[in-house]
Amino acid sequence: MLIGSEIIADMLRNPDRDDPLLVVPKPDVNDLIRAGSASLDLRLGTWFGTLRGERTSCLAVSSRHTEPSLVKLLHVPFGKPFYLHPKAFVLASTLEWIRVPSKLAGSVTARSSWGRRGLIIATATGVHPGFTGCLTLELANVGAAPIELRPGMSLCQLFFEEVNRDLKTTDKSRFLGRRKPILGKIDLDWIAKALQVQNP
């Protein structure tokens, strides 16, 4: 079940001592209650990442390439624009650092006003219990006009849902915090590896 903004506001105002929901910088809780929605607005951060297509023939699974060799990072300070041109794809991060307690999970979606301008945000939307860090956003301009983005602007929204189980044993190393967008790893698990064998 989605959690309403009043409950989110309450969690932020009176954080659980052992396992709090944290959003830093803290949003205006009164504003959140006034909005009466079921989500939390998130802002665009200052780090962007573009794929270095020239370094590799394709983004292969278990590539020998390191993350810095595949992603070129760019820092755009407050007050400066970042222009996303038609058909361009860029990784970005949220301004907010989010710590999700073990009893919650979240999902990120675009704000509709951006979608109508051709900006697609966060195609990988899940935020797991125990996550702590800035969310990596995938931004793509599918419209016909370039889009001006500015760090600090409200860009997407985060919905929270309660997790039925109290996942105290979450593998926290998977979600350890980063402030910059990351590509992450894609590895073949043992089943996928078994299925790759040509002549079994």
């Binding site: 944290l22 830093v24 910088p25 200052t46 702590t132 593998d171 402030r179």
Partner: protein, 412 residues
């Protein structure tokens, strides 16, 4: 270079200033070449001047280029810039970059050959540690050098140092004169002897280093001492530079100032801090004469440190900057340590770095999977950014309140 990704305007502005100077040289040479009566001597002179200028500016170009490197802790930029402007005025722009030197470094933009850059404060953190926010307090030392140059402190301090060096030689002349060319004491002072001037200069240089330490301690408190020990201890025996106080003197001066500023109270910490350093005096004097000159300089330094400490205190006080005390950053550290999230509500980047050191000193006990140092770096750099966001919002709210706007919704 103009096509580089400059995250902050100051780097681009400094580059443009240099660009204008180089264009002027180019134009002068072009005009001289076009003159029918141009002679080789004039052209050589012009070319020589241009080359000298380019040679002086080249290190600055490298510095500006390195300021674009994404390994730098960009999140520290705006808070540090604000700190610089508080102390040196709004006309000053900060360039934060990295330097392939082991210690942090500041470019002296008050050198006459590069006076065109005098409104820029150029602080380079060591390239191998430029993404490490724990050593940021050492930028406070570099800011001290910038204050020394901007406020022209050298002149006043030199006057006093000279008196103390004179006093030293007046007292010891009968024993030490055999090491100097035959001359009378009045001649030694009044001609003056280059050796006498060297002793005065060494005293001044040492006092500038001590002053810069004081500024770093006054602004960053204990975090400065931690950063200093992290980067420079044990400071194994090398030939001693007369431009720096001896390690043992420097550590004593630092500790006394830290106590006076209220940055440390704990005597146990003082003992531990001193133990980080190898305090044996590296002795490799070129001559007995050099030893005497250094002795004269150190006597002047010992007599002036209290004034220098008061001077640093007054300048930072006038800028409205408070020294973080022992408890500074405790609650921030507790928050980051427990919840693995950056802190909000910090009073200053000094408070954040003090919190960072508190965690660093308990790194082994931190129950975190993965690279703990990397996580700490991320938390501190993000905390700097959060501090900047909160400062901007607070300023904007104050402006709205002052201009009579009703309270509106918005992040706090």
């Amino acid at each position: 270079m103009r096509d580089s990704d400059f995250p902050y305007d100051a780097s681009r502005q400094a580059l443009e200033v240099i660009g204008v100077r180089i264009a002027e040289h180019k134009q002068q040479i072009t005009e001289a070449l076009s003159l029918s009566h141009a002679n080789e001597k004039t052209l050589r002179k012009l070319a020589g001047t241009s080359l000298n200028d380019i040679e002086s500016l080249l290190p600055f170009l490298g510095f500006i280029l390195r300021s674009t490197n994404i390994r730098n802790g960009f999140e520290a930029y705006f808070p540090l810039q604000r700190l610089c402007q508080k102390v040196l005025g709004d006309d000053v722009s900060l360039l934060l970059s990295s330097e392939w030197k082991y210690s942090p470094y500041i470019y002296n933009t008050h050198n006459p050959s590069v006076s065109l850059l005098r409104d820029f404060v150029m602080v380079g953190l060591p390239a191998h540690e430029s993404a490490n926010p724990l050593i940021l307090p050492l930028a406070g030392h570099e800011l001290g050098h910038a204050i020394w140059a901007h406020k022209g402190l050298n002149k006043d301090v030199e006057f006093v140092s000279r008196k103390f060096v004179e006093g030293y030689f007046t007292k010891t002349w009968s024993e030490c004169q055999i090491h100097f060319a035959p001359q009378s004491l009045p001649d030694f002072f009044e001609k003056p002897s280059p050796l006498f001037l060297e002793a005065v200069q060494w005293a001044n240089m040492q006092l500038q280093e001590i002053f810069s330490d004081y500024v770093g301690i006054r602004i960053f408190g204990k975090a400065y001492l931690n950063a200093f020990a992290y980067l420079l201890s044990p400071n194994k025996e090398r030939r001693r530079s007369p431009a720096y106080p001896s390690t043992s003197d420097r550590i004593n001066f630092q500790v006394e100032a830290a106590k006076a500023f209220g940055a440390i109270l704990d005597n146990h910490y003082v003992d531990e801090y001193s133990k980080h350093f190898d305090n044996r005096q590296p002795v490799a004097w070129k001559s007995e004469r050099e030893k005497i000159l250094l002795d004269a300089a150190e006597t002047a330094v010992q007599s002036s440190v209290e004034n220098i400490q008061n001077l640093a205190d007054r300048i930072v006080e006038e800028a409205g900057i408070e020294t973080p005390d022992e408890s500074s950053g405790c609650h921030l550290a507790q928050h980051m340590y427990s919840y693995l999230a950056p802190c909000s509500g910090a009073q200053s980047i000094a408070e954040i770095t003090n919190a960072g050191w508190k965690i660093y000193n308990h790194l082994e006990e931190w129950q975190v999977e993965g690279d703990k140092m990397q996580l700490l770096r991320e938390l501190l750099l993000k905390s700097f950014e959060i501090h900047e966001v909160e400062t901007r919002i607070s300023n904007a709210n104050r402006f709205r309140d002052n201009s009579g706007h009703a309270e509106e919704s918005g992040p706090r």
